[in-house]
Symmetry: C2
Subunit: 104 residues, 2 copies
DNA sequence: GTGATACATAAGCGTGTGCTTATGTATCGT
DNA sequence: ACGATACATAAGCACACGCTTATGTATCAC
């Protein structure tokens, strides 16, 4: 069950912050650290969890490892959420439009 | 942060099973137990977590307490997911249609 | 080659989580 | 009123989780 890893990964607040940072674009592990008061090994461990969950993927570039959001993870969450379509208050597309607007 | 409670709640496999059972319709705590090898207090605790996360809501009916999916929780997940819209492989509506088909 | 930088991994530790057993509270049947 | 049923709560315990420090590996600059 891949959902198990996904929800576990997202249960941690630091990992959610990291993931949201990556929503703005690709970043390396060091760049992901600043702003967050976290040690280098802790970040490395968090990234390993996110990667194992399929939420993030990496790309080596010399000494740096660039991380980016893995669309597969997003799809998996969407797939899970789709099972509860009967409880969506309206079409998810409409919700998405709503949320896009309140995104500042 | 309500997402914290939501993802934490869904991180547990038993709670996800309970939640998916409720996707089929309202059920009381005892009915939710069968199939799952879990004690009565454990189920009660899991339901308390799901309720606190806004994923489930209850309705007393005599001695029984009926639980059902709370659309607010679904909306909250959809709202969070909407932040990553840039990484959706296509429109979520299309994904939803796809998933509805492979839902046996 | 040598030192510095970027990141991963290992080991150990405090804390949170999910379970159990035991008990409490409320409603139903008689 | 009394026992049974449905569920919640309390306390205690084993284990998982996230952190730290220490160390390993790989790439860059010179």
């Amino acid at each position: 069950m891949i959902e198990a890893d996904i929800f576990k990964a997202l249960a941690d607040p630091t990992r959610r912050k990291v993931f949201e940072k990556l929503a703005g674009g690709s970043l390396n592990a060091s760049a992901l650290r600043d702003g967050l008061e976290i040690s280098q090994p802790a970040m490395s461990q968090h990234l390993a969890v996110l990667r194992a969950a399929g939420l993030v993927r990496e790309q080596r570039q010399g000494r740096f490892v660039n991380y980016e959001v893995d669309p597969d993870g997003i799809v998996a969450i969407g797939a899970w959420l789709a099972r509860y379509r009967a409880y969506w208050p309206q079409r998810m597309e409409a919700l998405a439009d709503l949320l896009k607007d309140m995104d500042q």
